[in-house]
């Protein structure tokens, strides 16, 4: 019993058609996949920029905090060095207050009226008339 040559041809055509259909389907799926990927990348771009910006700000903030810490330490150091001077100043103010109290006490003991001796006034010698201004040595 031999094989019908037309059947063999039919099988060959069928296989070719199937392969072509598969290739077309695969191309379609690939195209859809790449379109979806592009859309996703475009959608994520602002988020990426924001993340980079955030990282930069974070660095700046970190630097500012470091500077502030350093300044704080420096101010603290200065304040510590000022301590003795402030103590001296307070002590001097205390002394001044004591002196001031003594002066107030002495002032309270002064008489309210003092009798001065009579003064004789001699008439003034003739002098120049009053002037509105005097011309004197001037510039170059």
């Amino acid at each position: 019993m031999g094989i019908d040559p037309r059947r063999v041809l039919h099988i060959g055509v069928l296989m070719s058609v199937s392969t072509a259909a598969y290739a077309l389907a695969l191309a379609g799926v690939t195209t859809l996949q790449s379109t979806a990927d592009r859309t996703l990348i475009a959608a994520r771009a602002p988020v990426d920029r924001s993340v980079r910006d955030l990282a930069l700000r974070h660095d700046l903030l970190e630097r500012a905090v470091r500077d502030s810490t350093s300044r704080y330490a420096e101010i603290q150091d200065r304040y510590a060095r000022l301590g003795p001077a402030i103590a001296d100043l307070e002590s001097n103010i205390g002394d001044l207050a004591t002196v001031s109290q003594r002066i107030t006490h002495s002032a309270a003991q002064l008489p309210t009226r003092v009798a001065l001796p009579a003064v004789r006034v001699a008439p003034a010698a003739a002098s120049a008339p009053r002037v509105h201004a005097v011309t004197s040595a001037s510039g170059g």
Partner: protein, 296 residues
Amino acid sequence: MGSPLRLSVVGPRGEQAWTEVSEEFDATDRALSRFREDAELVALDRAAGTGIAMPVSRRLERAVHVTERARRLTDGRFDPRVLTDLERIGERGAVLAGHHHQGHRSRRTDAVVRHAGRGYLTLDDPIDLGGIGKGLALRWSTARVERAGIHDFLLDAGGDIVARGRPPDDSQWRIGIEDPHDIVGSSVAIVGITDGAIATSSIRRRRWDHDGTPVHHLIDPRTGEPGWTGLHAVTVAGADPAWTEVWSKSLFLAGAHDIAIEARSRGLAAWWIDAAGTLEMTSAARAKTIWVRGED
């Protein structure tokens, strides 16, 4: 201009007059001072001798032109090119690189300025506008106050004085002439001024020792040295404060021997006091004098 300013105004608008005067003196100082780093004159002096035409303000341009005219009229006794001589004897202003150690150039007959067109000046030598600058500041301030409608006032810039109108208590402003020999600076004579100016060149102040030698600020441009002329003070009254300044210095440098002839030939109202303390004056000055010490 480095001088104390005093303004007396008759009437209620003293504050406005003071604003005008202060603004003008500030502007003139920025243009003509040799002591301020930012002054125009300092920049011009620094460019002296380089041949560069420097852009200058109207104030500085006018001041230089007035000094040039004064140089011609006084036959060189007034010449602003004494700056290096002043610095040499110790009166220093802003630093002028390259001009400090130049020796004095003998009597100058050439012009102070080489013209480079309106608004530009070229100098061969640095200049000092101290005295005449104050006179010009007084001139320009007076014009501003008068333009503001104020007509009775007296403006005193460290002894250089302008008077306008009348004081509240008299028919004319009474100006004392300081006795250069008196330690307290009492007046040797009193002058009456209605509309005019008066200035004094004296060696009572601004004198010092330099290398053991007494010096003062009144430099004779013909010698480059302080002028010891037998006079101690010269006062000139006239219409314009810049020119009274010019003539007082010029007559001082004329010396005790020539001052009378010089002042009278020019019809100036001038008073001068010599080394012995004697006061002399011209007939024009006598007409303005209302009191003289020892004659009352």
